[in-house]
């Protein structure tokens, strides 16, 4: 019946509409990505601090003139090439450090996410011949995170909102006019839609990453005959622990197995995301990345991949993690209190109860 079909279609569209406009998905995952990439970039900038002039500075072998010439050909842009002055460069570097830190902490997140993206693009573009896959992923994620509401959880912004709400206490929200209420609703719906689109793009991006690298590996003979890791282990530039690399290389059977597992995991990745199978697959990928980080001396690359994988963990997983963490810290706190009590043998009991009670009541007032 066409009428029934039409009603069914309208219902579907309504559901889809509600799905994308009402509930922002994966707020915790978005926050984990914010913290992860902010932290990674901060670590990266601090690690390269002694080499900053060689990589991005005016005296770099990839001179500002060469960089500008390349921008004309490729369309990239960078704040770093606006001036060849060394002071300006140091100022940019300091700005980048501060931006990464504040972005990680989630302070005025929307504004900082834009600044963070500008910083990452600028540093990436300035020395594009120095970058690898990890840098490329961080760049893409920095751009996509601008779309998301990545400051809603575990951030200074969230803390401010909480404190303000507690201070407001019993009083209700100020009365709004009809139209301004409508405007507010529209704004919230729009933010939600853009956030959901951003999360979807991030998820799709990670799937494409694994899927395409897996498909390319399938075409390689060494992945097929199980010797690819033997060659990877013997690259001198990626041998921070030569003895360890040679030790692993002496076991061709596990190495071949690891080759096959790598390809299988990467190709299967997009298909396991919709079931419970994703947890073991993500755990195996985590092990693989840790292996790459240690054996090949690529912690930044592996870190970027691990943070990207975190987008697939649901909010309830992060809530569980948070509760476990709280319980653990409380237990440790209680143990510390007991220990200090025992040491001093003071008659004063620990008073967590009354303290929290007074703060909450004062907040409610």
């Amino acid at each position: 019946m066409p009428a029934g079909a039409a009603r069914w279609a309208i219902d579907r569209i309504r559901t889809l509409w509600a799905l994308v406009t009402v509930r922002p998905v994966s707020l915790y995952a978005a926050s984990v990505l914010r913290i992860g990439y902010g932290l990674l970039y901060l670590i990266f900038l601090l690690r390269e601090f002694p080499y900053r002039h060689e990589i991005w500075g005016p005296s770099s072998p990839w001179t500002p003139a060469l960089a500008r010439q390349l921008f004309d050909q490729t369309g990239w842009n960078s704040i770093l090439t606006l001036s060849d002055s060394r002071t300006y460069f140091e100022l940019c570097y300091a700005t980048a450090l501060v931006t990464s830190t504040l972005f990680m902490l989630g302070w005025r997140t929307r504004l900082l996410s834009v600044l963070f993206a500008v910083v990452v693009i600028s540093f990436h573009a300035r020395s594009i011949f120095m970058t690898d896959g990890g840098d490329n992923l961080i760049l893409l994620m920095a751009v996509y995170l601008v779309l998301t509401a990545c400051g809603r959880r575990w951030s200074l912004d969230a803390r401010r909102v909480r404190i303000r709400a507690a201070r407001a206490g019993g009083t209700t929200e100020p009365v709004r006019s009809f139209l301004s209420q409508q405007l507010r609703d529209a704004r919230i719906a729009l933010i939600t839609v853009v956030h959901n689109c951003g999360i979807f793009v991030i998820a799709a991006q990670v799937c494409f990453l694994y899927g395409s690298t897996g498909l390319y590996k399938v075409q390689g003979a060494t992945w097929g005959n199980g010797t690819a890791l033997h060659y990877a282990l013997n690259l001198e530039l990626f041998q921070p622990w030569p003895a360890l690399s040679h030790l692993v290389d002496q076991y061709p059977l596990p190495v071949a197995l690891a080759c096959y597992m790598t390809v299988l995991l990467q190709v299967a990745f997009p298909f396991v995301l919709f079931g419970r199978l994703k947890y073991p697959v993500l755990a195996l990928l985590l092990c693989m990345h840790i292996g790459i980080a240690v054996l090949m001396g690529l912690p930044l690359f592996s870190g970027a991949m691990i943070v990207a994988d975190a987008v697939f963990l649901p909010d309830r997983f992060y809530c569980l993690l948070w509760r476990l963490w709280k319980r653990a810290t409380q237990r440790i706190g209680a143990k510390d209190a007991d220990a200090s009590l025992g040491q001093r043998s003071a008659p004063v009991p620990a008073q967590p109860g009354p303290v929290s009670a007074t703060t909450s009541s004062s907040a409610a007032r």
């Binding site: 990589i55 799709a204 990453l209 003979a221």
Partner: protein, 244 residues
């Protein structure tokens, strides 16, 4: 105490809302318009808003879809679709969404490259003094060893400069494109910087030698004949910005 009063005044409040909305809707309103006009105007505004929102949401979803499809075509191995729409894909993806996930794929490198440099200095009397070969790669390798977090300057700088050089120059050392000239200058600068940092001194010319050593297949590391290394000697380059 204040809480108990809210339910009583809520009916009045909804009337207040309309009044407020009316005064918000424009500076001309002075409170003498009837309620009906204000409500009508508010509802019209709301309807326009809703239509606008709907359009923007649809645009967002459409853009997302387009982005995902184009990025997929960009990263996937070349196929009939991506070949046909190359121009559109490139226009959308470049520069900011450019990506390449051929990580150790289709095969990891099966060679270790050793890049060496030597310099030539012309004295005041016209005599030319050529230095010994200086192993740039050995410096990088020893910096990576026992370093859990090697810098990009050791793992990526020379490695990627050299791969870019071979991509832009091919087998001979003639720079035929603008990009090739740029990369040659880059490689020249890197080598000059490294030699200066290590040995000091001044020089006018620099020359690179690249030895490509294949990694033996598994099981043949100790026994069997080693595949001979391949050596590529680059022409002397004049040092421009660095060195002297």
């Amino acid at each position: 105490m204040g809480k108990t009063r809210w339910p009583v005044s809520s009916a009045m409040r909804s009337a207040d809302v309309r009044e407020l909305q009316q005064s918000d809707s424009g500076p001309a309103s002075n409170g003498c318009q009837s309620d009906g006009v204000a409500v009508g105007r508010g509802q019209r505004g709301a309807r326009v808003l809703k239509a606008g929102l709907r359009t923007v949401v649809v645009l967002c979803l459409f853009t997302t879809l387009v982005h995902v499809v184009l990025v997929f075509l960009h990263v996937a191995p070349a196929n009939t679709v991506s070949k046909r729409y190359t121009a559109a894909i490139d226009a959308w993806v470049y520069p900011y969404f450019e990506q390449n996930w051929r990580l150790f794929a289709p095969d990891p490198d099966s060679v270790n490259r050793q890049i060496l440099a030597r310099t030539a200095d012309t004295g005041a009397d016209g005599s030319v003094k050529v230095s010994d070969w200086f192993d740039l790669t050995a410096v990088d390798n020893s910096t990576v060893e026992h370093n859990p977090f090697p810098s990009h300057t050791t793992q990526n700088l020379l490695r990627r400069a050299w791969t870019s050089y071979t991509e832009t120059h091919g087998g001979d050392d003639k720079a035929r494109t603008e990009r090739a000239v740029m990369i040659q200058k880059y490689l020249n600068n890197i080598a000059a910087d490294r030699v200066t940092a290590h040995n000091g001194g001044t020089f006018d010319f620099i020359q690179l030698r690249v030895i490509t050593q294949p990694i033996p297949a598994p099981g043949t590391a100790t026994s069997g004949p080693r595949t001979p290394a391949e050596t590529r000697l680059l022409p002397w380059w004049k040092v421009t910005t660095h060195g002297k």
